[in-house]
Symmetry: C2
Subunit: 102 residues, 2 copies
C-alpha cells in the first residue's frame, strides 16, 4: 500500500485519518486541524501515539503535557485520555486489537 | 518519551533501532545502512512496516517489491519475509504481541 493513495476520512471533526488495519493492529495516520479537540474517552485498545509535526496538549493518567515532534506516548488499555491540537498536527497512532470503530 | 532521547542499538548488523514497548505493542524505529540484509525469517508477531525514507527490496508471500517513502506492508503472523536495504533507509515497524527479543 502507498500512504499517498489511501483515502483520508474526517473521522471526528478536524481529525482527518488514513487507517490501516491488520489482523490485530490498527495504524492511524492523522492530519489534525488546529484547535480540534479530542474529548476524554477510553477504549480497551492499547495505544501508542507518535507526534510527527505540530503541538498537541494531551491529558492522561492525571497529567497534561504539550507534545511536539518526536514525542511518543504509551496509553494503556482503558486509560482515559483527551487532547487538543494547539497547531495543525501530523500524528500517528497504533492500536491493538484492531479499532473496528475507525 | 522523546524519540531523540531514546538510545539507538545496532540490533542486527546495519539495523540501528529505537524500540518502544507497550504491554502488547512494539514500535521499532530503524535507521538501516545501505546494503544491510534481513535474512528470511518469521515470527508469531503480526507486523506492519512503514518506509519513511530510502528504498528497501522486500520479499514476502512469494513477491519481491521495492518499497520507498510512504509504502506500508502488512505482514501476517508467521509469514516468512526478508529484505535488503538498497539505500540508507528510515523505517518504522509495529508488532503485536511485544517483541521480547528486540
Amino acid at each position: 500500500m502507498e500512504l499517498d493513495k489511501i483515502k483520508e476520512r474526517e473521522i471526528m471533526p478536524g481529525f482527518h485519518g488514513k487507517i490501516i488495519n491488520g489482523d490485530n493492529i490498527t495504524w492511524a495516520f492523522w492530519r489534525i486541524d488546529e484547535g480540534s479537540e479530542l474529548p476524554e474517552h477510553k477504549h480497551i485498545h492499547e495505544q501508542i501515539m507518535h507526534v510527527i509535526d505540530g503541538k498537541i496538549k494531551f491529558t492522561f493518567d492525571g497529567k497534561t503535557l504539550v507534545h511536539g515532534p518526536g514525542s511518543i506516548v504509551v496509553i494503556p488499555s482503558n486509560m482515559p485520555h483527551s487532547g487538543v491540537a494547539l497547531t495543525q498536527c501530523k500524528i500517528m497512532d497504533v492500536f491493538t486489537p484492531v479499532r473496528e470503530d475507525l
